[in-house]
Symmetry: C2
Subunit: 391 residues, 2 copies
């Protein structure tokens, strides 16, 4: 599939032909990020199942997934529909399953999509087994394991895991495919060493759970783990079959703050325009507010608080000490990073275009319906790629 | 217009027929909120120009705007297009104008929309005057006044106001309509008294600016002020011609925290479904994460931090001490408010539907493409109303 990249709308436009704000992909940075993660998966001996919750874009998925066996992860059934329509057939829906979505999931299965679901309780398994009978389908299931106390899942040592595996194995409408876990707490580690330790906790917890199921005589093929930080830092993924990561395609300031990428490697930005100044305060006011940048302040708890984003020139040169310090719905206020030299606001005249690197790529991208894909010298828009948003 | 409410999609469905998450409007609460603001404008002797940046919905605009003279405010030109197509002809675009949007604004003017623009600098006025000549249109202009140091605008006493009024008055492609200001700092007041004081600062600053322009011999018809808090608390709007407010149609937890509405008056919520538990932690896990709720944590700086939102039953009964304490992209974690009794998580079985009241209605609504309008006993979906999002 990788060779048939169909740009949804091919363009021969320049950035300056667009009104702002607009969401940009730096194509060469994205391709490098994708290649790096593919190399990681190869080195670790696991399949890559990129999480499309970040990009939600068919063209990105075709580049990020394995060319010969394109498997992906999604965060909503609408994403599953979107990628299924584009030809993807091996999809993991990685959010605990709600009964009201059973008819929708069954439609996808009947259309030929191998859609796996996750759950972590006997109540959910029973509800889904009942729905499977009604819908006359067999739902492939992964049991969610909680390896970091972060969110959902059963602890690797919980006796409920084997009990749940038995319920799934016994239900005619369910088929146990394996286990999955997500070490979201890796976003709060304070060193690459700590992330590597978290990756080992993620790996060993998932493998332990799978071994306990196998020891009870039940097949458990898949051991799925991942987050971008643990994927990049893991020392070994022995016993794991597949790796999930999503934000790696773009990276963002939270990832840079963790040290898993450099600020220069961030492939996503929001193009904004200067609309005014409060020169005495050193403020440059732009049309890029929290609606375009997203309200995520994920770097606020990191050593370097990046406000609502780091500012770059129109062509992408990073202005390291210029950040969006405050944002209203359609206004961004740009000034110098606290503790650095005051900004000469008027050196950014009205009409100047500036890019803003996002704190959290998943949140920022979701504020937009499409990407402008920028190549070459940073001024040419090579394509517009559509996103799927909502539910 | 108010009498011709066309539901975009009339339905006879129940809430239980929808997958979650979904965005809900409680119709009767919304109608009460709208009636209250209309009564405020009448009592204060000003025209109401509701800000559609919150609802971005034609059906809401038809209810919120004056029936005989439907004037609205918008935050993007895409919103202006959306409402123009629905028949609205008197639109204020209340974000400082960027030169790259001139051709778009000119198209709207030529299509018969009375589109007013705002600016606060001679540089912007000159750029816009040049664009007006190219496009052969006359742009109606309001000068933005900064009455609270919050964002953009010229201070009421700034000599630049009269100078700018002269530049606009002299430019063949520009027509000075008046002045406008927005006291966004009212969101940070700590009492209704303080908001009323801020409303007076907003009023007197705008009126002063208008009087200074008039004293220089230039017409200045419009004096436009507003934010929901100042609109609700203002003691007098003498000298003001029109009032802008937007979030009042729904209200939200930030408004409730300020005291300008009660939690029971919030008309917007997100319907979610329980997908799991961590019973030992008192956690109920739902499919309503920050993607559905928005990442806005505006109540974090208020006396009562509401997390990512206050939880209600499926039909809307407020569970005052149950909040969304944490959120991932498609997961919400619900538990008791800190300092209150631990939550019996399993009393909310898998499949239970819960509504979540938003911190910030503008941000939450923008995560969705439509509203389900709920009436009667809180279970019937009377209509689906579409939103305009993006740029």
């Amino acid at each position: 599939m990788k060779t048939i990249v169909q740009d949804r709308v091919s363009t021969d436009r320049q950035l300056r032909d667009y009104e702002t704000p607009r969401l940009l992909i730096d194509r060469s940075k994205m391709e490098q990020n994708i290649a790096r993660m593919a190399a990681r998966a190869t080195a670790l001996g696991v399949d890559l199942r990129p999480h499309m919750k970040t990009a939600k874009c068919v063209e990105v998925a075709r580049l990020a997934a394995d060319a010969l066996a394109p498997r992906i992860t999604v965060s909503t059934l609408k994403e599953a529909d979107f990628f299924a329509q584009a030809g993807f057939r091996d999809i993991l829906y990685a959010v605990g399953f709600a009964p009201n979505k059973a008819a929708h999931a069954a439609r996808l299965l009947r259309s030929g999509v191998d859609l796996s679901l996750i759950l972590d309780s006997i109540a959910a398994a029973k509800a889904l087994a009942e729905a499977a009978t009604l819908e006359a389908v067999v739902f492939p299931i992964l049991i969610e394991i909680d390896t970091d106390g972060h969110r959902a899942g059963l602890k690797p040592q919980d006796s409920m895991i084997v009990e749940l595996a038995r319920v799934i194995d016994a239900a005619p409408g369910l088929s146990l495919r394996g286990v999955m876990t997500h070490a979201g707490e890796s976003y709060h580690c304070d060193s690459l060493e700590a992330i590597a330790d978290m990756a080992e906790i993620e790996r060993s917890g998932a493998v332990t759970a799978a071994q306990r199921i196998r020891a009870s005589g039940i097949d458990c093929h898949t051991v799925s783990v991942g987050s971008t930080p643990t994927a990049i830092c893991a020392r070994s993924l022995e016993g794991v079959t597949e790796l999930r990561a999503g934000v790696h395609v773009f990276h963002d300031l939270v990832m840079a703050g963790l040290g898993v990428c450099a600020v220069d490697e961030i492939a996503l930005s929001v193009l904004t325009t200067v609309i005014g100044h409060q020169a005495d305060k050193g403020w440059v006011i732009t049309d890029g507010g929290w609606m375009a940048l997203a309200g995520d302040r994920g770097t606020a708890s990191q050593p370097s608080d990046q406000g609502y984003g780091v500012v770059c020139t129109e062509t992408g040169e990073v202005l390291r000490d210029v950040i969006v310090v405050s944002a209203n719905q359609e206004h961004g206020i740009i000034t110098s990073r606290p503790g650095t030299e005051p900004l000469d606001a008027l050196s950014f005249p009205i009409g100047t275009r500036l890019r803003v690197l996002p704190n959290h790529a998943c949140a920022t991208a979701a504020q937009h319906d499409r990407y402008l894909v920028v190549g070459g010298d940073g001024t040419r828009v090579e394509a517009e790629w559509l996103r799927s948003n909502g539910w």
